[in-house]
Amino acid sequence: MEKRKYLISLIIAFIVISCDKIDDPIPKDSGTSVDFGDTEFIIDQSLNIADTSELRVLIESNTWIEKTSPVNDKRFIVLEEFTGMKCIFCPEGTKEIVRLDSIYQEQLIPVGIHAGTFALPNFVGDKYRNDYRVLPHSNDYLNTFHKGSGYPSGIVSRIGGIVEGKDNWENSIRAIENDAPVATINITNFYSEAANILRINVELEWLQTIAGNFNLQTYVLEDNIIDWQKFPSSVVPNEIPDYNHRHVLRKVVNDDTFGKNLAPAEQGEKQTIQFVFPFNPDWNADNVETVSFIFDNDVSSYEVMQANAAKIK
């Protein structure tokens, strides 16, 4: 009888444990949308703010560090690079990004997306224990843009929809660097150390009327993360614990893998959206910056039309 009890318990436990019941299959924006003046606030649900009065209390009862993005007077360019701590050739990609950054400065916005097998953390030992993937988004980007070429690889303003090797990045940047901007994006970050909350205010204005359906994508990046990195065996030592990981994607704001849909792009059209969410205490606020960009959400395009970035401190 005892054996039978154990057996039945085992089977029931097996069935219950190994099954995920999904009641709501459609991913919901993690934020609650609140209209306040001319601004649409998208507020992380964990903050429990559902109306304008509660929002006003949050804003007015805290002190905010305010940082703004540079003037968006030309077409800014986003370079999304796929990388990983165990990707032995990726440091060469980072060198190229640093070089390009020194040339194009604020016009170039690098994003380091840790994704794929080279980004898998170790589960034992003391090396490569930190997981810098932002799941499932990082893998979604990898699956969407990374069609079989090796690392280091990156995609310049998502043009063509497919990543290319580091030696082509500069050519791709040159091809669009002088394009007239179709829109401006101005970011103002409000960071409260005491409340541990970050507000990203994104103002966009269309300078041209253009056909298409556009989304707004917002990232949080952390620069200068010091952690393990592997190198080719020809490099001595071929792994170091204090590698400087640059512009690491830390959060896809509002969990929108492919952004928030925008109103039609008509000249003079303005839209202001503010994302409000808890600041992850694991991030070093001194090195955090936010990135916002508009891209064509047609799956055959994905082209980034305009972008900007701002520090939070």
């Binding site: 057996l7 019941k21 499932p136």
Partner: protein, 555 residues
Amino acid sequence: MRIQIRNFSKLSCLLIGVLFGFNSLTGQSFQETLSKGQIRGNFQFDAQYYQEDTLIGAQDVPEKILSNGFLNLVYTNGNFSTGVRYESYLNALLGFPPGYQGSGITYRFASYTQDKLSITVGNFYEQFGNGLIFRTYEERGLGYDNVMDGVRLKYDLAKGVKLTGVIGKQRLFFEYGDGIVRGLDVDITLNDLFSKYSESKTRVIVGFSGISKYQQDLNSQLVLPENVGSFAGRININRGYFNFNGEYAYKYNDPSADNGFIYKPGEAIFLQTSYSRKGFGLVLAAKRNDNMSFRSDRTAGQQDLLINFIPALTKQHTYNLLATLYPYATQLNGEIAFQADLIYKFKKGTLLGGKRGMDILLNIATANNLDTTQLNDDATSRQGYESKYFSLGEVFFKDFNVQLNKKFSKKVTGRFTYANLVYNQDVIEGKPGAPIIYADVGIADVTYKFAQKKSLRTEAQVLLTKQDQGDWVTLLLEYSYAPHWFFAFLDQYNFGNPDPNLRVHYYNASMGYVDGGNRISLSYGRQRAGIFCVGGVCRVVPASNGLYLSVTSSF
């Protein structure tokens, strides 16, 4: 404990020996141990030289020659066994999935039984109950192999109680699928478990099983269940000539490419009862499955990575017009099917039995869609549809067939078949807008035995239909010179094709030699495009023309 260590040492020694060659291991004890074992195996090689034949749509094959080869080796020594299978597709014969390309070891295992516990590591095939939630098997003719790679444990928990646990990934050509499959099954023979019923004439076996698959959710458009569970309960009752077999299965939300990523649970019920005694057999079966496609990769299609098996309730025909023009393929997304099988032997000396008796085999099978109502809830709960449990939807398939087997004299035996088919080509073959096919088939199969070793078998088949490719006729002459030789000539003629230019003869000549466990056959001619099915699982066979060689051997 010492015994166990010695046994496992022996196990690893044998495994290394079998897998990596005996030469590297020497020593008297090893040789002695090895000599107590037994090796069995079988080999199969099929190759075809292809010629382009535009009239029948036989495509040009750049390689000219394609081949499939297999070698199975199984070594058994007491409670231990190990084995490998080598497969070679250079490149795969036409009609086989393109994933079969190259050569390699696709199956290897080691198995050991110690007291009540049996352990298998590596590849294994397993089935829980009727397979409604779990069945892995190989059907080489279909290119179907969903074998597990992992660990299986079997344990005799108590008298009459057997427990089976499995975990592993499933084979996908020369790789493995993304998902991990885990499962438990308990099989209880009540007569053994409860000693007071051990002598009962009524034997009752019940079983319960659970299967769960894990696959990571990398989709940002939907919240997908990474763990999908299913369970089933079954009962088998046997008393004298009577047998009853019933099983119910339930599957939790499993959005997949098969069901259009809906979250409706799946369920299936299978009921079969039979009565059989000398000269009479009756089998009645019913089945209802609703959204029961279950794969270890939610994006897989075709026959790839299926975890479960929904039994087909249609007769598996063997005559070529019946078997390969309009065979039924089980519809995993939903169907209700019934089948009745009657076998009756008219005794010698009766009016119908005559001097030597006569067998009649009657089979009726139907399969219908479920009666469903679409919910149009793609943007909300994504349940997809509702189905009425006992109501029938559109017809998928009907087969009424009767066969008479009659021995006319010592030299002449005959087998005569009539079948009436209704075939929903739109659904079964996925040809939107194709009309339902109504076909009548008549077959006469007569064998004349000249002498003790010599016989001539003739098959005359006709299929009449106003739809699809129209009427067909087949003639087969097969001469056998036992025990070694056979020669055959076959012609299939599509005399009723609506397009007069396609009223084509499909000639084929073949010969073969059988010697003990070896069989070699050679054929030349046209192969009609068709569908090859085993147990409701089907493969489309394209038209071809050329020389075909087949070699099989077993020892």
